[in-house]
């Protein structure tokens, strides 16, 4: 069972990595969206992948329809993530609806992997991630930067997901499925880089469907 130190280390790492990405987002989005819209986007969207895609498209002159279409595709990833988290919750619909605000890849992972009340884990890790994201955006908007920290923050995410895989894998079949999902994702992204995170999630679902329970 993960210790309290495991949980603290994972949540702190997620928070620090998200602050770094928030700073990068704030600095890169401000010239395109303007100051207050950049901060508003982090406060009301709270999705790094959707926001970076939105800014990249807006910056390249794409239509507003293209921006909405792309973010809709990216939002589909919440369906399997949410189903996974929901299956572990015992709270009512209203509480789940409110907590769903904090559903991102990392908080879903922490909620599922740790043997703690899922509502509390989602609230605490999601609250930290939200404050880190909005705070980081504000620092980036104000001209802050962290030279050299961007690549380190980027390296923390695969490490975090490897740790979460280890915690979630409860037997040999889970390990085999994990290796298959990782290999399939690498192959897919080499062949079709645009498949992105949604493609990775698709590979994981296929692996879970195909693999038989041992």
């Amino acid at each position: 069972m993960p210790s309290r130190r495991d949980i603290t280390a994972a949540t702190t790492s997620v928070g620090l990595a998200i602050v770094a990405f928030g700073i990068i987002y704030g600095a890169s989005a401000t010239p395109i969206l303007g100051g207050w819209r950049t901060l508003l986007s982090s406060a009301i969207v709270f999705s790094g992948s959707a926001q970076f895609a939105m800014v990249a498209l807006a910056g390249s002159g794409a239509s507003e329809t293209a921006i909405v279409g792309t973010t809709t595709l990216l939002a589909i990833r919440h369906l399997p993530l949410g189903a996974m988290v929901r299956a572990r919750m015992t709270s009512g619909r209203v509480q789940r609806g409110l907590l769903s605000w904090f559903l991102i890849d990392e908080t879903a992972g922490l909620t599922v992997a740790f043997d703690q009340p899922p509502e509390r884990t989602l609230l605490v890790s999601g609250g930290i991630a939200y404050l880190a994201w909005v705070g980081g955006t504000g620092i980036g908007m104000a001209g802050g930067s962290l030279p050299g920290v961007g690549p380190l923050a980027e390296a923390l995410f695969p490490v975090l997901f490897i740790g979460l895989t280890a915690l979630a894998a409860s037997g040999r079949l889970d390990v085999i499925r994990s290796v298959a999902a990782a290999s399939g994702t690498v192959a897919l992204l080499l062949l079709w880089p645009e498949a992105g995170a949604l493609g990775a999630i698709g590979v994981a679902i296929v692996t879970a469907v195909v693999g038989s329970r041992g």
């Binding site: 993960p2 819209r37 986007s41 921006i67 605000w101 992997a113 490897i162 280890a166 290796v179 329970r213």
Partner: protein, 97 residues
């Protein structure tokens, strides 16, 4: 980009979250089995995705070093050990190169 588009993006993102966790019926039968099996392969796929989509590129030695060192601790099943190993791997290779 207009304020309306920004609000629409926010609404779509939140609706997708709330739909999965509060509006859609809970997974049952075969779907529930798949959802139960999903976490480990999903995190593994996201680990591979975050390596492949890194700004520094999937061949960045420090990034690969961090992932490799994290993998070495897989059997320990300790997030703290995995994070420490990943960080150490990154810093060591970054320093060496």
């Amino acid at each position: 980009m207009s304020l309306l588009t920004l609000l629409l993006v926010a609404a779509i993102t939140y609706i997708s979250r709330v739909a999965a966790m509060a509006l859609l019926p809970p997974p049952a039968g075969r779907t529930a089995e798949v959802v139960d099996r999903l976490p480990a392969p999903l995190f593994a796929a996201l680990a591979a995705y975050t390596v492949m989509s890194a700004e520094t590129g999937p061949t960045d030695p420090a990034l690969l070093g961090a992932a490799a060192c994290a993998l070495l601790t897989f059997r320990r099943r300790s997030m703290l050990v995995t994070l420490a190993a990943g960080l150490a791997g990154y810093l060591l290779i970054d320093w060496l190169l």
